[in-house]
């Protein structure tokens, strides 16, 4: 692996989203990457918890993902949804009991044999900088076993990144900011 090149500029520091984003960032159909009537529509949902195991009622989540065929799309229209165009981006605030819901599709593998995942970004009051993680689909166990990120984690930590498939086909993915079940959060090259 080649070394990531040095940055020329120092990235601007992040700050917490604070408590008052609710009238600014959420937008109509923010969580509907596809319409519920879409034949491949899947519910992705879960709860965001703090270090005491209490729900966090003021967190905002964003997802970014490939379509069901594994294509990474580049289409505008996320903020003003027409109900037909898949843009791959979604944003929802959690509700008063920390629960979030997206309506989306299962992302396809971007290359044959790759484990499909959804990228998740977490913002919250009390969280001083955003957190990144991945939501892996649980089905392709061989691809999951070969995934370089998952392979680099101990079993207990690894499972925090894999969603559960519920009986009705929904994907369940809880986020634990802290504690025994703390979710694995990611850093990437060239952050500083």
């Amino acid at each position: 692996m080649k070394q990531a090149p040095e940055l020329k500029l120092t990235p601007t520091p992040g700050q917490t989203i604070g408590p008052f984003y609710g009238y600014a960032l959420p937008f109509e159909k923010g969580g509907e990457l596809v319409n519920q009537a879409h034949p491949a529509a899947v519910r992705l949902h879960g709860v965001v918890y703090d270090g005491n195991g209490d729900v966090i009622p003021d967190s905002l989540l964003e997802i970014w993902q490939a379509d069901e065929h594994g294509n990474v799309v580049s289409r505008d229209g996320s903020l003003v949804r027409d109900g037909y165009t898949f843009t791959g981006f979604g944003r929802v605030p959690v509700d008063n009991v920390g629960h979030y819901t997206f309506t989306t599709v299962n992302p396809g593998p971007t290359e044959a044999g790759k484990a499909p995942f959804i990228m998740l970004t977490i913002f919250a009051r009390g969280l001083l900088n955003r957190l990144f993680t991945r939501i892996y689909l649980p089905e392709d166990t061989e691809a999951l076993a070969n995934d370089p990120l998952l392979a680099s984690l101990p079993e207990e930590r690894r499972k925090t990144l894999i969603a559960t498939r519920e009986e009705d086909g929904s994907l369940r993915f809880d986020v634990h900011l802290q504690g025994e079940k703390e979710t694995v959060f990611l850093s990437y090259p060239r952050e500083s």
Binding site: M1, L7, L9, T10, P11, T12, P13, G14, Q15, T16, I17, G18, P19, F20, Y21, G22, Y23, A24, L25, D50, G51, N52, D58, W64, Q65, A66, V72, S74, D76, S78, L79, V80, T87, G88, T110, F117, T121, F123, R125, G126, L127, L128, N129, R130, L131, P148, L149, S152, Q178, E182, T183, V184, F185, L186, S187, Y188, P189, R190, E191, S192
Partner: protein
């Protein structure tokens, strides 16, 4: 409305509001001094806020205790959602024209550029801002600070960056406001900024501050950035070239995102 009460909006631990400013400032000073010693001993400068910063009480149970797991970005992480004129109307960057009348307060222009860590402009990307009004009040039902709401000011703006990463918002200078981190806690005046890059790994939310604010030293959110030079990067510069005759004063603020990984990783693939 009961579940939207002020009490559960700001305070995680009710006892937290009993700390004095002196106690909070003392904690900040101790952490900063320890950081200064580490840097003198050769440690690399910290250019992002600590997520574990006890003077900001709400962070106590809301930060990961394990190190972030370093990974090389793949596929979706090397790209970013696209936004355009379909998403954002050009007038959404003027926060002073969203109602029938003129908002009260000091009209300002905040303008600058969005760059990536290589100094390249981030063009055609979404910037969102939100802020309190000239009295320090947000149009948010959880904000119960007894300062007036301005019927002519919502405090939300959006823009798409230009070809050189440039942006410009016309708005009203926000005021400081009280919060419940500790007794007599006040936030320095700020505008929240939300930014996207060319890779989703560059996604960030931050706050822009105004030069010379006397509340800087007292604020545990701003001071969670332990490095003075890094903290300074969140403060806009008064720019008389952005000030317009008999209309508005101007502030310049450039934002630098992290480095894109797409270019160098794609080049590497081609070399194989």
């Amino acid at each position: 409305m009961s579940n939207e009460a002020f009490n559960n909006a700001h305070v995680l631990d009710p006892a937290a509001s009993q700390a004095t400013q002196e106690q909070i400032t003392g904690e900040i000073t101790d952490i900063h001094e320890a950081y200064r010693q580490e840097v003198l001993a050769g440690k690399k400068a910290e250019t992002q806020p600590r997520v574990d910063f006890a003077p900001y009480r709400s962070s106590l149970l809301r930060h990961p205790t394990k190190d972030l797991h370093h990974t090389d970005p793949e596929t979706i992480e090397l790209h970013s959602p696209a936004f355009g004129q379909r998403d954002v109307h050009v007038l959404e960057s003027d926060l002073t024209i969203q109602h029938n009348g003129e908002p009260i307060g000091e009209r300002i222009v905040v303008a600058g550029r969005v760059l990536d860590g290589d100094g390249r402009p981030v063009a055609n990307q979404l910037i969102e801002i939100w802020q309190a009004n000239a009295a320090g009040r947000y149009v948010h039902k959880r904000d119960q600070h007894p300062a007036p709401i301005d019927p002519n000011f919502t405090g939300v703006g959006r823009a798409i960056t230009g070809p050189n990463g440039e942006y410009s918002f016309t708005t009203i200078k926000p005021a400081p406001y009280p919060w419940k981190n500790h007794h007599n806690a006040w936030r320095p005046a700020h505008i929240h900024f939300s930014l996207f890059g060319t890779d989703f790994t560059q996604r960030m939310i931050t706050q822009m501050y105004f030069p010379g604010d006397p509340l800087f030293a007292l604020d545990p959110i701003y001071q969670a950035i332990t490095d003075q030079k890094a903290r300074d990067a969140l403060v806009a510069t008064y720019d008389h070239n952005l000030t317009s005759h008999e209309w508005a004063t101007g502030y310049n603020w450039d934002i630098v995102l992290t480095g894109s990984n797409r270019t160098w990783m794609e080049n590497e693939e081609e070399e194989h």
